[in-house]
């Protein structure tokens, strides 16, 4: 697969504070890449650097395999974006806003009709954007980003301000973009559930550092099941289970065992009971993506 976005040691300092540190991003063609991180993690700064809105302090950006600085016009011609809150000319109608983008992007009239249909703003196209609701403005922002049906679509928190129905619609739309129009999507969010439902690849960023990058399945593999065991004598139980080939780890007042089948749990229980040990509690704990995300992001507090 071809890399659509590649960054090498991308760094951004603001007044001596490091906002993005040596980021090596890899977004491949046809992917929906979810850029996940808590508020203030550096997601928007990074996306702005990819669009030339913010100058990197160090590092390189290549989009469609071309150096961004040297091929800025080509890259931007094939990239659509919606950064932070939607941008618009409030005194103009939705259609007129799209006309501005049409002139900037040199696209035919039919594209306007199509994007209005996609974001379901056909009925409101003659209304001034200042009178739109936040959700409608967000839809217009997506329509403007989509207008040229670019090769790469960069969306920063695209479901902000949308009601649950709207979120679902936009989610389905984003999911359909690679298959239907061949668009690679790079989207950011601080909401794990959103990324989980849309993305095929994930990048987790915290304090400007990329903590994880890869296929969503790889991240999900990290979500192991644990069995927590509490006995009358944890130390003795630990020794006993080690002799039987298990690897229990002491965790607070319990023993923790990873990746056990039901049969193995039954066998462990039987072993402990036969050894006259009281088995007080056997608990299963499923580590979710959220736990992994929190675990990763909490670790990183010091930067630069």
């Amino acid at each position: 697969m071809n890399a659509v976005v590649t960054t090498q040691k991308l760094t951004k300092h603001y007044e001596g504070i490091c906002r993005v540190k040596e980021l090596d991003l890899q977004v491949y063609e046809g992917e929906i890449y979810g850029f996940l991180g808590p508020n203030g993690a550096g997601k928007s700064t990074n996306l702005k650097m990819l669009l030339g809105l913010v100058k990197p302090s160090a590092g390189k950006i290549a989009i469609f395999g071309k150096d961004f600085q040297q091929n800025r016009t080509y890259v931007l011609q094939h990239t659509g974006s919606l950064i932070e809150s939607p941008s618009y000319y409030g005194h103009l109608t939705g259609l007129e806003n799209l006309r501005i983008m049409q002139r900037l992007r040199d696209v035919p009239d039919k594209n306007i009709t199509e994007v209005l249909k996609i974001v379901r703003l056909e009925q409101q196209k003659h209304k001034k954007v200042a009178h739109y609701s936040l959700g409608m403005k967000q839809r217009l922002g997506i329509a403007m980003a989509l207008l040229a049906f670019p090769k790469l679509l960069i969306l920063d928190e695209p479901t902000n301000g949308l009601d649950p129905g709207g979120i679902e619609e936009i989610r389905e739309l984003i999911k359909s973009l690679p298959g239907q129009y061949g668009i690679t999507v790079l989207l950011s969010s601080h909401l794990l559930a959103e990324i989980e439902q849309m993305a095929t690849s994930v990048g987790i960023i915290s304090n400007g550092q990329l903590l994880f990058q890869g296929r969503k399945d790889t991240l999900q593999e990290k979500s192991k099941n644990y069995i927590f065991l509490r006995t009358g004598n944890n130390e003795w139980a630990q020794n006993l289970l080690q002799q039987k080939g298990y690897h229990p780890v002491k965790y607070k007042e319990q023993l923790r065992l990873a990746n056990l089948t039901d049969e193995e749990i039954a066998r462990i229980n039987k072993t402990l009971v036969q050894a006259n040990l009281d088995v007080i509690r056997i608990e299963e704990y499923h580590k979710s993506l959220e736990d992994i995300f929190l675990e990763l992001t909490r670790k990183e507090n010091n930067l630069c």
Binding site: K48, L76, S81, E84, S87, Y89, L92, E96, L104
Partner: protein
């Protein structure tokens, strides 16, 4: 470049900017015509056309800096209001093209104001029965002088309007400019030379001097050195403004 310029005019839809300029010039001309009528009724022997041009040029020192501030602010503020830099810049247009288009757009609007004034001067003179012939030869000088001064003011105003989101500062600067333009001649010549707002009278085809408690009208041709100086100031402010904005991150 033409695309960027037409786009600026497209963005001005529904902003009633031509109506606003027309009304603004209408008020100015109403004031100027009343003033001219009073002068002519008190001094029937004075040359009406000279009085009219001098009065309009003096009024321009007060009104046009404010009009330039409003025009520039209207053109620039829509980008701040809708946070549209991040919409427009990630396209094929570059910041310096947008900067030039906005400047070109405001210059065209100020040219409309200058042409409107010239038309009003002609119509007023003819209807008031000022002695013929109509001094058409003065009009190009009047328009060029007005435009060169307005362009210098616009270069400053655009820099301020695009750099600062709060347009109150830009509009206040326009008002201060109007005040300095009107009172510029009261300052020593070494001082008033640096007030770009006071060049409407300096570059007018007719000016006046007070001697022996009366005003004497003097016809003047455009001074090449003054013109060059104002144009140089315009270029400096334009380039500094453009450079300053290009260094800001959106």
């Amino acid at each position: 470049m033409l695309k960027a310029l037409t786009l600026e005019f497209f963005k001005l839809r529904r902003s009633w900017i031509f109506t606003m300029i027309t009304l603004f010039i209408g008020v100015e001309f109403l004031w100027a015509s009343l003033s001219v009528s009073i002068v002519l009724s008190r001094h029937p022997d004075s040359n009406g056309w000279e009085t009219l041009l001098v009065t309009v040029a003096s009024m321009n020192s007060l009104f046009l800096p404010i009009l330039a501030a409003i025009v520039s602010s209207r053109i620039c503020d829509m980008e701040h209001k809708g946070d549209t830099w991040k919409l427009v810049l990630p396209t094929s247009l570059k910041l310096n093209q947008i900067y030039a288009a906005k400047y070109g757009c405001s210059c065209i609007l100020m040219l409309y104001a200058a042409l409107l004034q010239t038309l009003a001067i002609t119509c007023y003179g003819i209807t008031k029965g000022l002695p013929p012939p109509v001094p058409f030869a003065w009009f190009p000088t009047f328009i060029i002088g007005t435009m060169v001064t307005s362009m210098a003011i616009l270069a400053v105003q655009q820099w301020v309007s695009l750099s600062l989101k709060n347009q109150a500062f830009a509009l206040s600067l326009g008002m201060v400019g109007g005040f300095l333009g009107l009172t510029g001649d009261l300052f020593p010549s070494a001082v008033n030379r640096i007030f770009i707002w006071s060049y409407y009278t300096k570059l007018s085809p007719v000016t006046f001097h007070f001697t022996d408690n009366s005003a004497h009208y003097i016809k003047q041709t455009l001074s090449l050195s003054t013109l060059t100086a104002v144009i140089c100031v315009t270029i400096i402010f334009y380039l500094v403004g453009n450079l300053h904005l290009s260094r800001q991150e959106m």
